[in-house]
C-alpha cells in the first residue's frame, strides 16, 4: 500500500515577501520585486536589475543565528523559510530534544539548492595579480599567495550547494533520508517530487523539501548575460518579466528560498497536523537534445507532463490550472505552450495558465517550490495568480494566460511544471485534500 503524501507546512523568503501571506498578497496585486541591482555594482552590465530579497533579517526567524552566520545567501533564506514551514506544521526547531513527538530519523531533507557566490574581491584580485598577460599564463605562486592571504575557509565552504541542507539539519535535527540536487531551474520541483517518492515508498514519514538559490552576483549575472537569457529592459525593471508576451526579451533573475513540509497522510493524521493539499503526481524526464536549447517539439516536456498525469491518475480535463515555468524567454514560453497543446489537446485552450515569475522573477533552483506554494494558495483561496505585464500578447501563443489580474476560479487540481537548462523536466500534480 503506497502512502498518500500531503503538505502540512509552507515557508518562503523571496523578492516579494519573507512570509507566505505577504508573498501571496503581493503576487495577486502584481507588485513586482524587480529593481536596480544593489547586491553588487551592475551599472555597466547588459542587465542592471534583478529581483532581490531585501531587508531580510535571519535573526527574526532563528534564535541562535550566530550558528549560521557564515551561511551563503541561499542558506540564510532557506533557514527562514524552514522555520515558517516547521512552525505551521508543528515541528520543533532549535530545540534539543524536541517535544513534538516526531522521530528525527524518519524526518528527512531534500533540497534543490544552488551554489553560493565566490568571494568576489579576493577571487578577482588573485587573478589580477597572478595573470601574466604577455605570456598568457598564470603565475600560480603569485595567485596562491593572494588567494591564501585573502580567502577564508568558511566563506569558501559555503559555496558548496549542499550547505543549505546542512544548515536545515542543524536547525531541525532532521536525521532521515537527506539529499540536495541541482538540475538548474527545475531543481526544487525535482527535490519535492523525489521527496514525495521517498514518503510514498516508506523511506520517510516527513520530508522538509524545497529549494534555495541566489545567483545575483557578478559571475552569475555574467553567465546568464552571456547566454542572452536575461531581460535587458533596464529602463523598466518592473515590467521586464513578461511571460508569453510578444515583447518578452528574457527572464528577470531573482533569488530566494521556498520550503514545503511533505508528510505521509498517516503521520499528518497521527499528529493532528492541518493538511494544506495533497501531491498526487510526479513526472521527470530528460530532453536528451541539446544543452543550449529545449527540444523543438517539446519532447521532454511532454513526456514529463504525461508521466505526472499518469502517476496522479488524472486526465488533462481534470486539471483546473497550470502553474507554468513561464520564464519570459522567447524559447521557453513558445515551447511550453506547444507542450501544453500537445498534452492537453482540445482542453489546452480551456485551461488557465499563469506565471508567478512575472512578479517575483526567476528564483532559479528555488523557483519550482516557490511556485508550488502559489498553487496551494490558489486551491485554498479559489483564485488564480495573474501573469503580469502581458499587454502585447504573442499571436503565436494563444492560450489563456490569466493576463494582468487575478481571477476567481474553481481550483481543485493543479499542474506545476519546471524545465531546467540542459533539459531536465519535472512536473508535479497537486490537489485539494479530500479524506
Amino acid at each position: 500500500m503506497k502512502e498518500r503524501v500531503v503538505i502540512t507546512g509552507m515557508g518562503i523568503v523571496c523578492p516579494i515577501g519573507h512570509d507566505v501571506q505577504t508573498m501571496w498578497d503581493n503576487l495577486l496585486a502584481g507588485r513586482s520585486g524587480a529593481a536596480t541591482t544593489t547586491i553588487f555594482d551592475a551599472g555597466t552590465f547588459p542587465t542592471t536589475f534583478g529581483a532581490e530579497v531585501k531587508n531580510y533579517d535571519l535573526s527574526g526567524f532563528v534564535k541562535n543565528s550566530t550558528l549560521h552566520e557564515h551561511g551563503n545567501r541561499g542558506s540564510k533564506f532557506v533557514l527562514g523559510a524552514t522555520v515558517q514551514a516547521c512552525r505551521q506544521a508543528g515541528i520543533d526547531v532549535e530545540t534539543d530534544p524536541p517535544s513534538d513527538g516526531i522521530d528525527r530519523e524518519r524526518m528527512g531533507i531534500y533540497l534543490g539548492a544552488g551554489e553560493g557566490s565566490v568571494d568576489n574581491d579576493v577571487f578577482f584580485e588573485a587573478i589580477v595579480k597572478g595573470w601574466k598577460a604577455q605570456s598568457n599564463e598564470m603565475d600560480w605562486a603569485k595567485w596562491t599567495e593572494v588567494a591564501h592571504a585573502g580567502m577564508t575557509p568558511y566563506r569558501e565552504l559555503e559555496q558548496e550547494p549542499n550547505l543549505p541542507a546542512g544548515h536545515i539539519a542543524l536547525l531541525t535535527g532532521a536525521r532521515g533520508e537527506t539529499r540536495s540536487c541541482l538540475t538548474a531551474c527545475a531543481a526544487s520541483t525535482q527535490a519535492v517530487g523525489e521527496a514525495v517518492m521517498m514518503i510514498r515508498h516508506g523511506r520517510a514519514d516527513i520530508m522538509i523539501a524545497g529549494g534555495a538559490h541566489s545567483m545575483i552576483h557578478p559571475l552569475g549575472v555574467t553567465g546568464f548575460n552571456r547566454l542572452t537569457a536575461l531581460s535587458t529592459r533596464n529602463d523598466s525593471p518592473q515590467t521586464a518579466s513578461r511571460p508569453f508576451s510578444a515583447t518578452r526579451d528574457g527572464f528577470v533573475l531573482g533569488e530566494g528560498a521556498a520550503i514545503v513540509i511533505l508528510e505521509s497522510l498517516d503521520s499528518a493524521r497521527r499528529r493532528g497536523a492541518a493538511i494544506l493539499a495533497e501531491i498526487t503526481g510526479f513526472g521527470s524526464s530528460n530532453d536528451a537534445f541539446r544543452v543550449t536549447d529545449m527540444h523543438e517539439e517539446a519532447r521532454g516536456a511532454v513526456q514529463a507532463m504525461q508521466a505526472a498525469l499518469k502517476d496522479a491518475g488524472v486526465t488533462p480535463e481534470q486539471i483546473d490550472y497550470i502553474s507554468s515555468h513561464g520564464t519570459s524567454t522567447t524559447e521557453n514560453d513558445s515551447i511550453e505552450t506547444l507542450a501544453i497543446k500537445k498534452v492537453f489537446l482540445e482542453h489546452a485552450a480551456k485551461t488557465p495558465i499563469s506565471s508567478p515569475k512575472s512578479v517575483f522573477g526567476h528564483l532559479i533552483g528555488a523557483t519550482g517550490c516557490a511556485e508550488l506554494i502559489t498553487c496551494v494558495l490558489a486551491i485554498r483561496d479559489q483564485i488564480l495568480p495573474p501573469t503580469m505585464n502581458l499587454h502585447d500578447p504573442d499571436p503565436a501563443l494563444d492560450l489563456d494566460y490569466v493576463p494582468n489580474k487575478p481571477r476567481k476560479a474553481s481550483v481543485e487540481c493543479v499542474m506545476k511544471e519546471s524545465f531546467g537548462f540542459g533539459g531536465q523536466n519535472n512536473v508535479l500534480i497537486l490537489k485539494r485534500f479530500e479524506p
Binding site: A133, W143, M151, G166, T178, E194, G223, R226, R290, G423
Partner: protein, 440 residues
C-alpha cells in the same frame, strides 16, 4: 529494496589508477598508488601539492562524430563522466545510438540517468584574459568587467560549469530520456545518485539507469579550499605514495583527485531476459545527515553514518553477519576517520573486528562526487572475483579504531558488501550489495 529487484550489469571508470575499470581494479588489487605531485598547475605555494590525476586521454575517441563540436561546451568533469559512461554501457552490453544507430537496444524513455556532481569550479586560465581587460590602477574594475571583460568571455561559459551538465551530455550522446537528476551532495553525491537510481528502477519509473559520479577536483580553487579547511595533508609532499593514510595512527589529512565512476542499474527480470552479466543486486540503501556546526567535519561520534548504515541493512534484510566486506569513506582526515570508524563499529557490533574493511583512497585519492561510485565498483569487482586488495598506508591503526584492516590482499567468498560515505556539509549514505550466485 521495496518494489522491483535492482541489479548492476555494467561498470565504467576513469581514475588516477587507470583509464578503465580493469586497469583500476588491477591497481587496487596490487595496492598501487595513483597519487603524485600535481601536474595540472604549479602547486608550489600550496600546503598540499599532491593529487590523484587521471593520465592523458584522447577525448575525441569517446565522442560520436556528430557530437564532437559540443566538446567546447565541456569542463573536465563532463569529459570524465562521458568516458566512464561509454565503458559502463559497453560493459553492460547495451547498444545505444552512439554505438550503433541501427541496432539500438537501450530504450530511451525507460532509461534514467542520475549523477553525483561537485561544484564545478571555473577554469581560472579561461577567465583570466577577461579579468585582464577589466583592471584600473592595478585593481579589478567591475565597470570594465560589465563591458569589455564580459564580452571577452565565450557566450556559453556558464554551461560548462553547471553541475547538471555531465548527465545532460551523457544523456544526449546515448539518447537517455527518462528521469534525470544531479545530486550535489559534495563527496557523497556518487553514493546518493546510485541510491536514487535504484529507487527509480525499483518503483518502475525506469527499467535501466546510468548512475554514478564525476568530479575533477584538481583545480586550484578546489585544492586551495581543501588546504584552507585543513582537510588535505601538508606533511607528505615529498612522499606522495604514503600521503593518504586512512585510519592510520599517523594520518595527517586527505589527498584529493579526479575521476568518474558509472554503473548500469537494471531491473532484475529485464537483465535476466537479455542474459546480462549480473555483478550484484542492490539490496538496500540508506541516507541520513551528520549534525555539526563545523560543516567541514563529521560529528565526533559519526551518528549520521551509523543511521544510514542501519537503514541500508534493515532494507536489505540482512545483519552484519552476512557482510564480508566494508568499503568506508576513509579519507585520511584523522578526526573524520575516527568518527566514521566509531559509527561503523556501533552499526556492526562485535562483527566489526571480523568483517574486512578496505578503504581505497590511499590508492585512488579522494575524488569527491566520484568517490562513492568508485567504492561501489571496487565492491562489485570484489564480489565477482572473490578478492580484496591490501589496505595501503595503514601500518599502525589509529587508537580506538576497531576496523579489520589487513595489509595483505585476500581471496575469500564475499556474499555481501557495504559501501558507506559522508561529505562536508553533512549528508551520509550507505549501500548494501549482494552477489547473486549463478549470474556472474
Amino acid at each position: 529494496m521495496k518494489g522491483r529487484r535492482v541489479v548492476i550489469t555494467g561498470c565504467g571508470a576513469i581514475t588516477p589508477l587507470g583509464m578503465n575499470v580493469p586497469e583500476t581494479w588491477q591497481a587496487l588489487l596490487a595496492g598501487r598508488c595513483g597519487i603524485d605531485t600535481i601536474k595540472a598547475f604549479d602547486p608550489a605555494g600550496f600546503s598540499c601539492q599532491l593529487a590523484g590525476e587521471v593520465g592523458p586521454y584522447k577525448f575525441r575517441d569517446y565522442l560520436p562524430k556528430s557530437y564532437r563540436k559540443a566538446s567546447k561546451l565541456m569542463s573536465r568533469d563532463i569529459e570524465l563522466s562521458i568516458i566512464a559512461s561509454d565503458e559502463a554501457l559497453k560493459d553492460a552490453g547495451v547498444t545505444t545510438q552512439a554505438f550503433d544507430p541501427d541496432h539500438i537496444t537501450l530504450r530511451p524513455e525507460r532509461t534514467a540517468i542520475q549523477f553525483g556532481a561537485g561544484l564545478i569550479s571555473c577554469d581560472l586560465v579561461e577567465l583570466a584574459p577577461s579579468v585582464a581587460v577589466s583592471i584600473t590602477d592595478g585593481k579589478f574594475d567591475i565597470h570594465k568587467w560589465g563591458k569589455a571583460g564580459m564580452e571577452n568571455l565565450t557566450p556559453i561559459w556558464l554551461l560548462k560549469y553547471l553541475p547538471n551538465m555531465p548527465a545532460c551530455h551523457v544523456g544526449i550522446i546515448h539518447d537517455i530520456r527518462g528521469p534525470s537528476n544531479s545530486i550535489t551532495c559534495g563527496e557523497v553525491g556518487g553514493h546518493l545518485a546510485i541510491a536514487e537510481a535504484a529507487d527509480i528502477v525499483a518503483r518502475g519509473d525506469a527499467e535501466m539507469a546510468l548512475a554514478g559520479g564525476c568530479e575533477a577536483k584538481v583545480n586550484p580553487i578546489v585544492m586551495i579550499r581543501q588546504c584552507l579547511l585543513k582537510r588535505s595533508t601538508s606533511v607528505s609532499n615529498e612522499n606522495p605514495e604514503g600521503a593518504c593514510r586512512p585510519f592510520a595512527a599517523d594520518a595527517a589529512g586527505s589527498v584529493f583527485g579526479e575521476a568518474a565512476g558509472v554503473v548500469v542499474l537494471e531491473e532484475f527480470e529485464s537483465a535476466q531476459k537479455r542474459n546480462a552479466r549480473i555483478y550484484a543486486e542492490i539490496l538496500g540503501t540508506g541516507s541520513s545527515t551528520n549534525i555539526n556546526p563545523a560543516y567541514e567535519h563529521l560529528e565526533p561520534d559519526g551518528k549520521g553514518i551509523e543511521i544510514a548504515i542501519k537503514k541500508a541493512l534493515a532494507e536489505a534484510g540482512i545483519t552484519p553477519d552476512d557482510l564480508d566486506l566494508i568499503i568506508p569513506q576513509g579519507t585520511g582526515i584523522p578526526q573524520d576517520d575516527a568518527a566514521e570508524a566509531a559509527a561503523i563499529a556501533r552499526a556492526m557490533g562485535d562483527m566489526v573486528e571480523s568483517i574486512p574493511a578496505w578503504p581505497i583512497k590511499s590508492m585512488v585519492s579522494h575524488t569527491g562526487a566520484a568517490a562513492g561510485a568508485l567504492d561501489v565498483i571496487a565492491a562489485l569487482e570484489a564480489l565477482s572475483e572473490s578478492k580484496i586488495g591490501p589496505v595501503r598506508n595503514c601500518d599502525i591503526k589509529a587508537e580506538g579504531c576497531r576496523l579489520n584492516l589487513r595489509h595483505q590482499g585476500q581471496e575469500r567468498t564475499i556474499r555481501s558488501a557495504l559501501c558507506c560515505g559522508y561529505t562536508f556539509g553533512g549528508q551520509t549514505a550507505a549501500i548494501v550489495l549482494k552477489k547473486l550466485e549463478g549470474y556472474a
